[in-house]
Symmetry: C2
Subunit: 110 residues, 2 copies
Amino acid sequence: MGITKSEIFTEAQNRIATMAKVLGHPARISILQHLFQSDSCICGDLVDKIGLAQPTISQHLKELKNVGLIKGNVEGTSVCYCIHKENWLAMKALLNTFLDSDISTTSECC
Amino acid sequence: MGITKSEIFTEAQNRIATMAKVLGHPARISILQHLFQSDSCICGDLVDKIGLAQPTISQHLKELKNVGLIKGNVEGTSVCYCIHKENWLAMKALLNTFLDSDISTTSECC
DNA sequence: ACTATTAAATGCAATATTACAATAAAGAGC
DNA sequence: GCTCTTTATTGTAATATTGCATTTAATAGT
């Protein structure tokens, strides 16, 4: 039904999935990489560098902002987006607890 | 259009996004966690432990197999799924190169 | 106030995803 | 061969996502 049954999963599982999901699109990966290199924080610059229409980029920015990975500072008519470092680190920590599941693995079944 | 313009992104960006995307559903997170704990490798056990229908679990397993994160050993009538350790480590490394973008960050724009 | 610039919001079309019922396939045990 | 068990496949419905044209909002500069 295109709808996810989040209620049957743990809070942690849902949070991990939500974060992974927002990273699950190359445009959003690209946006984040640009913001890290801070060669283009302004929305319009991102539109130019990535080859997608302005509304599309705007929408991806919104999703990144919704999960708290970025924040936007209004500067006159343009908006300067940057990484929300604190939340980024929290996201990284969350994903790493999951990604490091292999370390504590005991048995091998096949 | 529901279709991703992968051709305008780099190989790396697409691969990172693909991996993140497959981790972007709590059922798949749950499946992987179960496989790591190997308290249930058998498909049927996963169906019991996670509260989703058998075809739904089967479909999620298929997606995890498609990106290479798990492999399935047929054992009689049942199938034993396990983590594909090599590919798991490669995925981890790939995601970490991206997640560690904050480390090499120089400037602050806002 | 008027105009230009920039970004967000709206509306829409095409495609993708999630979930499951029903069915098919494949092997085990008789 | 027949039946049971287990998993994959197919088909379908509901919802989500992606992308963009158009419009709106908000500010800067004149």
